[in-house]
């Protein structure tokens, strides 16, 4: 089983990319599981065709200890297993601790042993702001981390911070940083800027996702590009990126 965490600044397109990777790899015959690690709980929206699935934390709140795997993991497009960690009521509680609790519940219920996915994607909120958001890269969870960034300064700044966090945890045997995914915003010298970041972080750009209207169009249909426009250039791009991801 391969476990991969996708990090990056909030709003950079992690969920869109992750969902398309999940869809593409499921079409290649892999059993894929995608776990959204963001209190917004919208990571798997396109895979679930717009249906908002109950989050792990919602179910714990509702059912206490009696939560079952069926109540927190749902089958989406082409059999992709979808789960959302969820989070507290905005403005109160602790989102980071929420991620930990959700992960512990998935493990306690034997999600990985029972569902036996070939590949697990953790789609993680913005930045490693506290202990909870480092959970997906802890020993035993993700083995590899990819960071989504554009050439915008704040996105690269966040990416750099995430790499620092991963390096800081190096002595603990956490997940390895495996490179950047450039989600293009068509800004000037974008490739050069992100290449420089890749060099500085001792990583590489493993794939470039161009800016394309098909992404928004698919989003309106509550689908991934891989599902909505399987023959499009963008779908090919996501499939190529999926192959690269599988090489780690």
């Amino acid at each position: 089983m391969k476990k991969i965490a996708i990090y990056g600044k909030g709003g950079i397109g992690k969920s869109t990319i992750t969902a398309n990777l999940s869809a593409a790899l499921s079409k290649k015959g892999y059993k894929v599981m995608q776990i959204g690690c963001d209190p917004k709980s919208d990571s798997t929206k396109a895979l679930m065709h717009g249906v908002k699935i109950p989050t792990v934390l919602d179910q714990i709140k509702k059912n206490g200890k009696k939560v079952t795997l069926k109540e927190i993991v749902f089958e989406g497009y082409n059999g992709v297993l979808c789960a959302e960690a969820g989070g507290p009521t905005p403005g109160i509680g602790c989102a980071g601790r929420g991620i930990i609790t959700a992960f512990e519940k998935l493990e306690e219920l034997g999600a990985y042993e029972i569902l036996k996915p070939d590949l697990v994607f953790y789609d993680v909120l913005g930045d490693v702001v506290c202990g909870g958001f480092a959970m997906p890269i802890r020993n035993g969870y993700a083995d590899h981390v990819f960071i989504v960034t554009s050439g915008e300064m704040m996105a690269m700044y966040a990416a750099s911070n995430i790499v620092s966090a991963i390096e800081g945890f190096g002595k603990r045997g956490y997940a390895k940083y495996c490179g950047l995914i450039l989600n293009s915003r068509d800004i000037e010298n974008e490739y050069e800027l992100v290449s420089k970041l890749a060099r500085e972080t001792k990583g590489e750009i493993i794939g470039i996702v161009p800016r394309d209207v098909s992404v928004q169009n698919a989003e309106r249909l509550d689908q991934t590009v891989v599902e909505a426009y399987p023959d499009s250039e963008m779908a090919i791009c996501y499939r190529d990126l999926a192959d690269k991801v599988m090489e780690v």
Partner: protein, 389 residues
């Protein structure tokens, strides 16, 4: 509010379970806390603390350390202490605050081991779980790490699993259990975890049989059976006849190499309610049924229920209110429980039989603990059954 305890104290928690397991070993144990959890363990959960000197520390976690997630400070302190103490191992334990802020105790342990070269174990204890979870984790972790790979088997060699002062106090109970098996021709290789050494744990894989005396020993028993093919017998020796029955079962299991959980036969719900540790309560029930014909005995598991050990009608106790509801149900005419629970009877016409438990009433009764093997316990069982001896 339904979980509010009005009469009962909080029961011993997981970090106390880990600490008490490691008490006899030459290691350094550090609870990552603000002093309260450590104080709780040494003052209320460890009968052996007074008059003994053991390297059990607290990290003196402060608000700013928690806010900043300052693991480095904690690691520095442990490394410094390790340099002067030269322990054989280090254990770092979580508590409620590290749990809430998401401290990774295993990751921290890995860093400390990297800096000191001393085997270091991280325990994600939270303070929100019962002691038996900590006991189980500590035993499995140490057996995994120190358990030898020798395939050489020691005929007649047995291990005792789940022996801790939180269940058996520090009177003669642990020695009595060891003596029972030694006197019956067995050699106790390792008594997890009272009076054992790291060397004993290393040799434990040579045992022919494991004897599980408390529910917390089940995780290790299952692991050792899977990993090293050692079968187990799950039962606590109690009284005279009950102890002999356990020895007989161990002999049978040694012959056919099959694991066994001692269950009584023809049991049914009602009459006697036993509240306590599941394995000890089960064994008490077996004695009542087999020696005295009392078959209506229900076990109420105070620290979580292991289904594999339970009868269909046994109860996983949720909270104090649940106990009160059971008492007022009119179903039971006798209650066997820690003396602190007597107050819950109020004016109910139920006979009460006190069986102290350290994890419930702490120091209040730990020096008045019952001896589990022999005449006194046999008389106690007979008294519950309503038979005078």
């Amino acid at each position: 509010m339904s979980q509010l305890c009005v009469y009962l104290p909080p029961f011993s928690s997981d970090y106390s379970g880990v600490c008490t397991c490691l008490f006899d070993l030459n290691g350094m144990v550090v609870i990552h806390d603000a002093s309260c959890c450590c104080a709780n363990y040494v003052s209320y959960d460890e009968p052996r603390w007074f008059g003994n000197k053991r390297p059990i520390y607290c990290s003196a976690l402060r608000e700013i350390d928690a806010i900043l997630g300052d693991d480095e400070k904690f690691i520095r302190k442990v490394v410094t202490a390790s340099d002067s103490m030269k322990p054989e191992f280090i254990a770092v334990l979580g508590s409620p605050v590290p749990t809430i802020i998401g401290s990774d105790m295993n990751g921290i342990a890995q860093e400390i081991e990297g800096k000191t070269g001393v085997p270091t174990f991280g325990f994600s204890t939270t303070g929100f779980r019962y002691y038996n979870r900590g006991v189980a984790e500590a035993m499995v972790k140490f057996a995994k790490y120190y358990g030898g790979t020798s395939s050489q088997q020691n005929p007649g060699g047995v291990n005792i699993l789940g022996l801790t002062v939180l269940d058996f106090s520090d009177n003669s109970n642990a020695t009595d259990i060891l003596n029972l098996f030694e006197e019956n021709g067995f050699e106790v290789i390792c008594s997890f975890m009272i009076g054992c050494s790291l060397m004993d744990i290393q040799r434990s894989t040579q045992a022919e049989m494991n004897i599980v005396v408390s529910q917390s020993g089940m995780a290790l028993a299952t692991f050792m059976e899977k990993e090293w093919g050692i079968p187990y017998v799950a039962a606590t020796p109690l009284g005279n006849a009950g102890s002999e029955a356990v020895v007989r079962t161990v002999r049978q299991a040694c012959e056919d190499r099959k694991s066994r959980v001692l269950h009584g036969e023809g049991l049914h719900d009602g009459e006697v309610l036993l509240l306590g540790e599941q394995m000890i309560a089960n064994s008490l029930r077996n004695s009542l049924a087999q020696s005295y014909g009392v078959k209506g005995v229900t076990v109420g598991c105070l620290f979580g229920m292991d289904r594999a050990l339970a009868q269909d009608f046994d109860i996983d106790i949720r909270d104090e209110r649940h106990i009160r509801d059971l008492i007022t149900s009119g179903k039971y005419s006798k209650l066997v429980a820690d003396p602190l629970m007597k107050v819950l009877l109020k004016d109910r016409d139920i006979s009460f039989f006190p069986l102290p438990h350290v994890a419930v009433s702490s120091k209040l009764y730990w020096h008045r603990y019952k001896t589990f093997i022999g005449d006194k316990m046999e008389a106690f069982i007979a008294q519950i059954a309503g038979t005078s001896m």
